[in-house]
Symmetry: C2
Subunit: 351 residues, 2 copies
Amino acid sequence: MARPTLAVVGATGSVGAVMLDLLSSRRDVWGEIRLIASTRSAGKSLMCRGESLPVRSLTAEAFDGVDVAMFDVPDDVAAHWAPIAVSRGAVVVDNSAVFRMEPDVPLVVPDVNHEVLGHRPRGIVSSANCTVAAMIMAVAPLHFEYGLRELVLASYQSASGVGQVGVDTLHDQLTKVAGDRLLGSRPGNVRQAVGDDLGPFPAPLALNVVPWAGQIATLGWSSEELKLRNESRKILGLTALKVSATCVRVPVVTGHSVAVHAVFAAEVTADGARQVLRNAPGVILVDDPEAGEFPMPIDAVGTDPSWVGRIRRAMDDPRALDFFVTGDNMRKGAALNTVQTAELLAVELSR
Amino acid sequence: MARPTLAVVGATGSVGAVMLDLLSSRRDVWGEIRLIASTRSAGKSLMCRGESLPVRSLTAEAFDGVDVAMFDVPDDVAAHWAPIAVSRGAVVVDNSAVFRMEPDVPLVVPDVNHEVLGHRPRGIVSSANCTVAAMIMAVAPLHFEYGLRELVLASYQSASGVGQVGVDTLHDQLTKVAGDRLLGSRPGNVRQAVGDDLGPFPAPLALNVVPWAGQIATLGWSSEELKLRNESRKILGLTALKVSATCVRVPVVTGHSVAVHAVFAAEVTADGARQVLRNAPGVILVDDPEAGEFPMPIDAVGTDPSWVGRIRRAMDDPRALDFFVTGDNMRKGAALNTVQTAELLAVELSR
């Protein structure tokens, strides 16, 4: 069979840009690559695999002849257009939240559960939430070794998780507050300095942490917190996994971090966990506090793996581990996981 | 009895400055207030209760006639000088970590466990760690209602937790990175922009989160993480309380936050917890995410209470609550808790 045709839907977005970077640097499995975006962006050209490609409008016809279509677009756009792409014969790898929890849609993190794709993939395949993807890369191999029972999670999520407008807003705010040593030391003065333009955030992000990400879901939980619970359960196939998560936005550009407390069925040791993670695909072990080595966004940004460190056995529970994970939310949290999933589909489609 | 004489040891430090502010604004129970600092700072004058007071050198004689001495100085200075102050007849309220876990030293958070002071206080009394103090204000009333069994904690600690040098370092770094929209988006470029001067932190703090606070303690735990466990146990009188904490420094000037997962003996409800916290002393309930109301450092800074919000019952455990707490680490986390404790001593000494 000829190499499959790939569509990149949302090619002009910030995740789309990382997708094109990845397609240009990874082992190439694709025939034609077709860039698709909103009508507003159509007509532009973008570089991919060393050549300039035109951006086409998002229409039903744009999917004719497409084998695999990667979507990174807002939820409502994905809800409308992914089924249309499927009806035109494409398998869709969607990075929105819309389809992830549907029973017949595989939710994929390739290094963890690629087998859910099956051998005749069709329809829609979902790529995991950004925070889930980074975290699950470390949690899954420990689950396979010790049998996961419970997760208590607290996140440190970056501005780019809400797109380039989040990054721009953070930098604008930092410009207003940096260097004035009183700012952040007196009540209300950061709000005053930042002004009314909060961008996509519910409060100023500079010199602050905002314990809210996503939309109101239910009983006080945010949509982001429920994703951590529900997607973890689905990806690991653990329908009764106990999960409590608190999602917090921090003034970081890119790189989502999670403080993880994981309780297992079997007793654990920190050294055993380190050994498991040292051998895990897509994981970098960074665990030497005395040498200043622990996972941090400024180091993980721009890299593919999940960085894991601060590994400790709980002092009061021999079945529990505490650790810290950081991953690039634009890569494993979005573009990379989608591209890896699409590549697996390319292999299956070529059989 | 005449009003007691108070000494403020470390009066010229950043916590000392907040102590003098508080002494000038709270109901006044003191006779003479004597300011004491290192020889280097002696001879300066500072304002307190509307008058300019000279700063005296830290000597044994400086404590003669002192009834209560508040200490906010480095651990080694406290270890040396607090016993000397006691030998001169003062009761010491110490904000260092040196004496907190000694069996005969009360560890006090006044609204929670003032009874440990007893009626004839003498010797050394310790004030709790900054993160512990903010967190325990919310946890203690819930414990009294539901019976606490376990805490899983993740902190978001500010730069001023390590003193003014932390604040200065953060602002210097922010000046170097603010506005350059590529910074934080590419690997290593924040480290390059910040340069080698990390101040008191093990890594750049601007545009980053650093999962390390304090010194190496044992088995991979930091001293700060062990304080959260050991001080919580002592303050609540729960010798078998299970505690796992991950301490993380964030680019915030002042205001320590904690994501709390608390497991109780009895079943809980979010509304019940809100009712408990609405009536708790030293707590402000800020829990309306749809209106953008949750606890944040930029709002809590400069205020006395612990701000508590994001209260949810765990979806998979009817005995567990998740919530978020923010407190001003210079106030309840340091100066305020010390001043409140000293005021209780003043009452006891006046009996």
